[in-house]
Symmetry: C2
Subunit: 301 residues, 2 copies
């Protein structure tokens, strides 16, 4: 039998909605679904979710009624949940805040503060709505496009071309050698913060080739074998993070100073301390797959 291992849990996963693909193709079914009394909307205001929060409790998505959503708001189908159909809309939050005590939570904070399955729903909604907002025109002919398939496509009103939401694969990796792993600092990172190196996969390469190319470009490290660990969606705006280890051939580095300010070979003890918040650098938070990658590395035998 194929050997299966548990893939570590990652941030923004665990969405329990059934995306119910068949509904997207069924215009009449979709209209009926929107009219159901148990239909609810996640509202994004400026791509940030509207949540509710009881005194001293954790935040949760504020599931709004259809009557709370402006008629002309951009609205997409998320999926069927245990309590009815779920949608997301881009809309101002003023009334939800005034009438229901809602508040707008920064989307990155949502990744840390919401229960994982709710953060995953926010990720789905945010990536798709952001894509619609930046794709009002057809890349083929320049004419206007309109939302189609319940939010999972746009169709050109001129040449009729169909366009689909982007998912941009990104490799994020630790080069490892003799008990050391390579981490680095991008210029935009907060002070003392170090993380796994990462970069977009390009057309015409495998994941393994992308891992090796990025380590070569950014740090001048040559690597041999690559091992996949886990993946996560990352809704800033719509990446698919793919985490891996890579077998480094040496320790010598050559920095791409446009991409990185510093790289450092660290030991497992140094990473353990950083993950515990007591190290001499700041490690990525649990919602980031770089955290999962570092933790998997220190935990392995």
């Amino acid at each position: 039998m194929t050997m299966f291992l548990d893939v570590p849990a990652t941030g923004f996963t665990g969405n329990i909605l059934d995306r119910a693909d068949e509904i997207r193709r069924d215009t009449a079914g979709l209209i009926a679904m929107r009219a159901r009394p148990d239909a609810r909307w996640l509202v994004l205001d400026g791509l940030n979710p509207v949540v509710k929060q009881a005194e001293g409790g954790p935040p949760a998505i504020l599931w709004a009624y259809r009557s709370d959503i402006p008629h002309d708001a951009l609205s997409i189908f998320l999926g069927m949940g245990p309590h009815g159909p779920r949608f997301a809309a881009a809309a101002p939050s003023d009334e939800l805040v005034a009438d229901f005590g809602g508040k707008v939570l920064d989307a990155r904070a949502a990744g840390s503060l919401l229960p994982a399955p709710e953060a995953a729903i926010v990720a789905q909604a945010r990536s798709i709505i952001d894509w619609h907002q930046r794709h009002g025109f057809c890349a083929v002919c320049g004419a206007k496009t309109e939302l189609a398939k319940a939010g999972y496509a746009r169709q050109c009103q001129g040449c009729k071309a169909e366009h689909f939401p982007r998912v941009d694969p990104v490799v994020i990796m630790l080069a490892v050698k003799d008990g050391h792993a390579l981490i680095g600092r991008q210029p935009r990172f907060p002070k003392r913060f170090l993380s796994a190196l990462a970069g977009f996969v390009e057309p015409g390469e495998s994941l393994e080739e992308a891992v090796r190319r990025e380590l070569w470009e950014e740090a001048g490290i040559t690597t041999k074998r690559v091992r996949y660990l886990a993946s996560q969606p990352w809704p800033f705006p719509s990446s698919l993070m793919i985490a891996a280890f890579a077998e480094a051939e040496g320790f010598e580095v050559r920095l791409d100073e446009e991409e990185l300010e510093e790289v450092r070979w660290v030991t497992k003890d140094e990473v353990r301390a950083a993950l515990a918040g007591t190290g001499d650098f700041l490690a990525p938070p649990p919602m980031a797959i770089a955290h999962t990658l570092l933790k998997a590395w220190v935990d392995e035998a």
Copy 2:
């Protein structure tokens, strides 16, 4: 130490060009590079590569001189090769055919007939050139865009938005249970052809979630753990195929008849026969990662 395993080789990988990212940002350097006497171009005519082929020998890329490329042809930088800089251009093939005995090879045939590192170069060129040809306008504002960064971006001439080539991640998987694997037939497949199930990764899901969703949507199969095997670029037009096994909970299937005409649970002996060309169904060719996936499954202990 992290346990590394060899990832199986896949079609369209093994590109030996150094993509030399730093050249893309350096306009003067790029102009100098194009003028070098050892600069050469891969020509795509209708997205199919121009190749040369000696009597009875295998085809190989026909590397054209700059003087063979029309001045206004769409041209991108591929990378530095051992014999100089390499570019690709979209151009008619008539003169290369007449003067150098070139011929246009169908891009799918190229995947099977060219040496693997050359097929990989064709994949890189084809995905990027196709993207340029379908992105002449800005999705944000509808104005015209122009090629930028040596072919790795387009910039809007109106709102100045930058756009990057798409890479669309696709999961392709075998649900497995008790010595059986699930394969299926899409309506567009040739007669008797069966392959692994597959589908695009959507915004807001991990690879593992995409695998489980696709098996549920297309075949009504619920699965538990997922194991990554390997990946490959697939230049039709620009997918990143990610191959995995998934642990099925049962054998009962429910077909999505828009996606699949048939699914079948097969044994290792049946797959071995099909891979050898003697089975009662046709298996995918070695250039397709579905072949790699089936072969890995029958070969494992």
